[in-house]
């Protein structure tokens, strides 16, 4: 079952084409990351799925509903954690969650939510007294209060210190254990790689690549094999720089075979052998760079 299906989605603001015809499919129960630089059209896309904005063209189905027409029915079943939505500063954590719980027909228990996001010690503190990370955890709790089938997380860790990020990631992982579908937008590669089963890279209003983080990494071109040639031996496969040979492996098995055959014949133990794969970051930067040019 597809939690989200998008076909040919377009949206312009005046002359600015924010989204230029994208297709997406997010399966039930998966964490899907929409990755892209600022201004790529991620937020516009997600806000159309959430029913905040209306598409100019294309088909959109979220949990089987059209967000433009069935926003009230849809909002009972989704949770939205936006980048910059405020929360009343003068209520306590528990009061805030009780208030939002009342907006839903079948909310989760407030105390249970406080535990899920680890704010037990701040239960009766006012929102003003929470740290940035704690406020973000409260945001997440508010997003979960309606026990949603599908959760939208917009840039969940922007501005976090590394340990707060790890914590937030662990929390998102725990969500998938609960069977939630998560659509995550982020401009951090490592976040997408760590959390998502599938990733779509968006740049300039288009999806420029899509797949699992591993398969995307393979988009980056072939693996390279690198090893050191001992002094006095002539380097195979062309020139070595500073005694290091780097070969592009169109066929990794064949290249490795050739390297090991040469090594056995020359009694080289290859203790410096590396197989290098392009990182998702390399791929991402290349894709985004291509889209920009």
């Amino acid at each position: 079952m597809a939690a989200i299906t998008v076909k040919g989605l377009r949206k312009s603001y005046g002359d600015n084409e924010a989204v230029r015809g994208i297709d997406l499919e997010v399966t039930d129960g998966e964490v899907f990351a929409l990755l892209g630089p600022n201004g790529a059209g991620k937020t516009t896309t997600v806000e159309i799925l959430e029913g905040y904005r209306h598409a100019d063209a294309g088909e959109v189905s979220v949990l089987g509903l059209d967000p433009a027409r069935n926003a009230p029915a849809l909002r009972a079943r989704i949770g939205i954690v936006l980048q910059s939505t405020g929360i009343d500063q003068y209520l306590t954590v528990r009061e805030t969650l009780s208030m939002y719980a009342h907006y839903f027909e079948h909310p989760r228990q407030v105390d249970e939510l406080i535990e899920i996001v680890g704010l037990e010690e701040k239960r009766d503190s006012r929102v003003t007294s929470l740290s940035g990370g704690q406020q973000r955890r409260l945001d997440l709790a508010v997003g979960l209060v309606g026990d949603p089938e599908l959760l939208f997380l917009d840039e969940p860790t922007t501005g976090f210190d590394p340990s707060a990020r790890r914590e937030a990631w662990q929390m998102v992982r725990n969500l998938t254990a609960l069977g939630k579908t998560v659509l995550l937008t982020t401009h951090y590669m490592d976040e997408a790689q760590y959390l998502a089963r599938r990733v779509a890279v968006m740049a300039r209003g288009r999806i420029v690549a899509e797949g699992s983080p591993d398969s995307l990494a393979r988009h980056g071109g072939d693996a390279r094999v690198r090893f050191r040639v001992p002094d006095g031996l002539e380097a195979p496969f062309g020139a070595a720089s500073d005694g290091v040979v780097e070969v592009v492996a169109m066929d990794l098995a064949r290249t490795l075979h050739e390297v090991t055959t040469w090594a056995l014949a020359n009694k080289v133990n290859l203790d410096s052998l590396d197989v290098l794969r392009p990182s998702l970051e390399d791929v991402y930067l290349r894709l985004v760079g291509e889209a920009a040019s």
């Binding site: 959430e50 929360i87 839903f104």
Partner: protein, 255 residues
Amino acid sequence: MINLRRTLYQLRFTNLAYWRNPSSALFTFAFPLMFLVIFTALLGRHTFMLDGRLVHQTTYYVAAMASYGLISACYVNLAMVMTFQRDQGILKRVQGTPMPSMAYLAARVIHALAVAALLVVLTAAFGRIVYQADLPTGMALIRFVVMFLVGALSFSAMAFAVSSIIPNADAAPALVNITIMPLLFLSGIFIPLGDHAPTWVAWVGKLFPVRHFAAGMQSGFLGTAFNWSDVGVVALWGAVGLAVAARRFDAEPRV
């Protein structure tokens, strides 16, 4: 009916946040009461002629500060709070839930009305106890309640309209006050106009809703004439406010 239940539950939290927010509780609740004490203490000893009647200034100020209390709660506070809530993305977040926007906004208006009622009751009680001011009774009380309700709803509607025009939260206090402070002075709220105000001041009073509203409110206290046309003008401004708000009011923060 489910929306009424939601509105009532929302009221609880609206109320909690109101009293904990110093700018709401202090500026919109304490100010009218503070002005009441100051004005009656400084200027309350005199009498003057209004509509051919001899009027005690204490009673005049009790009526005027009751009007100011309502405007403060339903217009000044509501316009600022709605702008802040929009700017901070609180309205957008609520919009992303199944809570009907109307139920949420209704809680805001009902709360403003309740705060206004509390201010009027406190003002009247202070006037009665300290200065033996006259209070509306009988038919005058009923007319007073009508003016109060029409005023509360109309000034709330104007609050939403002005909030929809304010670009951001930083501009809110200045813009809200610039729309209301001159009118409070030119409509006899802070300084009684008497029967010899300059013509242009009288025209400002005729055009804008504050003077009409204050006239309706003070008839119950002072025994001056009650004109349904005053109620009509306030309601007309309210209707214009509602029309502007319905077209322009938006939950999204302005970027």
